[in-house]
């Protein structure tokens, strides 16, 4: 029973990781940039979700606004930040991205206060009992289901469709991709939009699960997300999902049984390093 519960909790956590990491994967896959500022969009999503829901009473509207605004902000980040830096070595964009993240964190703090926001009446908090007694919040179940669905869809799009091939082509050689009729900007805007909207989506979920959004809520997902894209072998949607879930479960058990030895971050990264020593190409990479 405890085993199942820990697993289930790991999967919930993993789903959130997956949603955040996906945007990172898309960006990394596309531009080979470690997009730390992505986590700011996650935070943005959380804030918008809470504020819109509190103002309008509709969670659905909260989700919609969070995703759309985060998506558009993602495109803006690409255009303003990364596009001009594509010719530079990757750590230039990394540092710029970190700078952007810090600035955003501070902006949230200055605009909305350091202590964060909460829902007036947090929705989806009812308990549901599944599979003979496993207790879930409604929100937890919905997180898992929607993550699986979205990622399944994206995975299909990425590998099975012309759009997917076009995206991948821009990775290998953007200039040549253009010479084969691919509009670079469109492809990249699309990726940033989708990835960022998912981060916003995740932000709303986290706000629902914790009933708290704070300026600093993005920092953990930002580096865990990076660990996950490495575990997943970089670039593949399916690998990212699996890696995120595995990491969620590892953390879930780890904090309980190894908590005395290592903290949660250390457990996650110890796992990452162990995996990389055995499989340098990541857990789920095509070799």
């Amino acid at each position: 029973m405890l085993f199942l519960e820990l697993t289930a909790q790991g999967l919930v956590q993993g789903s959130i990781y997956a949603l955040v990491a996906l945007g990172l994967t898309l960006v990394y896959g596309l531009l080979r940039i470690l997009h730390v500022a992505h986590a700011a969009l996650f935070t943005l999503g959380g804030y918008l979700g809470v504020m819109v829901t509190n103002a309008s009473g509709s969670l659905a509207l909260g989700f919609a606004v969070a995703m759309i605004v985060a998506g558009i902000a993602g495109i803006a980040m690409y255009r303003l930040c990364y596009e001009p830096m594509l010719k530079q070595p990757p750590f230039v964009a990394l540092i710029a991205s970190i700078g952007l993240y810090i600035a955003f964190e501070e902006l949230f703090r200055i605009l909305f206060g350091a202590s964060g926001l909460s829902y007036q009446a947090p929705p989806l908090q009812q308990q549901v009992s599944l599979f003979g007694g496993l207790q879930f919040k409604q929100a937890e179940i919905l997180v898992m289901v929607s993550t699986a669905a979205i990622i399944g869809l994206l995975g299909y799009l990425q590998t099975r469709t012309r759009v997917g091939v076009a995206c991948q082509a821009t990775v290998s050689d953007p200039q040549m991709a253009e010479s084969f009729g691919i509009r670079l900007r469109q492809v990249r805007d699309l990726n940033f939009f989708v990835g960022s909207a998912l981060a916003g989506f995740a932000g709303v979920w986290v706000a629902l699960l914790n009933n708290l959004v704070e300026p600093t809520m993005g920092s953990v997902p930002s580096y865990k997300g990076l660990a996950i894209i490495v575990l997943g072998g970089m670039g593949s949607v399916r690998g990212t999902l699996l890696a995120a879930l595995v990491l969620g479960v590892v953390e879930s058990f780890g904090t309980i049984y190894l908590g005395k030895l290592l903290d949660r971050n250390a457990i996650a990264f110890a796992f990452l390093i162990a995996v990389l020593m055995l499989r340098p190409q990541g857990l789920f990479a095509r070799s």
Binding site: R32, L34, L80, C81, P84, M85, Q88, P89, F91, V92, A93, L94, I95, A96, I98, G99, L100, Y101, I102, A103, F104, E105, E106, L107, I110, Y223, L226, A227, V230, M234, K260, L261, L262, D263, N265, A266, I267, A268, F269, A270, L272, I273, L276, M277, P280, Q281, G282
Partner: protein, 275 residues
């Protein structure tokens, strides 16, 4: 400031010279700091703790380097980041290292305040000189080549892993040295002083200064470590401005301060020539 410069130069050796991005460099600062702090408390003179700190940091650096050899370049940043988290995670749980509470009341170095400052500056200057020398030596050339294309260097008969390890060893040992100074300077260290944020900060110093450029990194680290104090007057907006500047710097001068200076110099020369 001198400590930041030393620390940044040590990372620059690994990342700037040899092309191995490290996001966990603060761990080595931590190793040096803890060792120096504990040994000082055990009664060793401060000066004697420094080489020991370097040795230990360098040794562990080589171990981490060995592990990093296995992962592909893309993954290195994240692997080293993991090492950083692991370090903090381990230190947190060790009571003999003070656990969460850290180590405080580190005995005095015996140097006066200015004495200590001069000592740090001298060490930083020596490190800068060492970096310049390495850059000029054949080791620097090989580092440079490894940074650009390992495979090609192999075909030229270069033992790439050994050079990478050498870079790690020197870089982490110097970080250990910086750590000893750091512990002495603050008289108090705790696990949080060596976390991810520190690693990222020092990487920003290197990049903002101008990765690979010794002078650039020196200036970058000096300026950036003083920045928060200068910014006190804008109070609430301090970090916002800091983050914004970091971004703008990369956006408009990706080569860092080094590139900016070169550009300005060129421009004035051109203008001067015309006049």
């Amino acid at each position: 400031m001198a400590i930041s410069v030393l620390f940044a130069l040590s990372l620059n050796l690994i990342t700037g010279f040899c092309g191995q991005i490290s996001l966990g460099h603060a761990a080595f600062l931590g190793i040096g700091a803890y060792l120096s702090a504990l040994l000082s408390k055990a009664g060793l003179p401060f000066i004697a703790t420094l080489p020991l700190g370097m040795l230990l940091a360098g040794l562990i650096g080589v171990v981490v380097g060995l592990a990093s050899l296995r992962v592909r370049a893309d993954f290195l940043a994240i692997t080293t980041m993991g090492v950083g988290f692991l370090f903090v995670g381990i230190v947190r749980q060790q009571d003999w290292l003070g656990g969460e509470l850290g180590v405080s009341a580190i005995p005095d170095s015996g140097l006066s305040k200015t004495g200590f400052m001069v000592f740090s500056v001298v060490l930083a200057a020596a490190t800068a000189a060492l970096c310049l020398y390495i850059r000029k030596s054949w080791m620097g050339r090989v580092f440079n080549g490894v940074a650009e294309d390992e495979d090609t260097m192999r075909v030229l008969g270069i033992d790439v892993p050994r050079y990478k390890l050498a870079a790690f060893a020197i870089g982490t040992a110097l970080a250990g040295l910086a750590g000893g100074l750091y512990a002495q300077h603050l008289k108090f260290i705790g696990p949080d002083s060596f976390g991810f944020v520190e690693s990222v900060t020092v990487l920003s110093m290197v990049v903002v200064g101008g990765i690979g450029s010794v002078a650039g990194v020196t200036i970058g680290a000096a300026v950036m470590s003083a920045l928060p104090a200068w910014f006190q007057f804008i109070g609430d907006y301090k970090l916002l401005v800091y983050g914004g500047l970091l971004f703008l710097m990369m956006r408009f001068s990706p080569g860092g301060m080094a590139a900016m200076v070169t550009r300005v110099v060129q421009r004035t020369q051109r203008n001067g020539g015309g006049a």
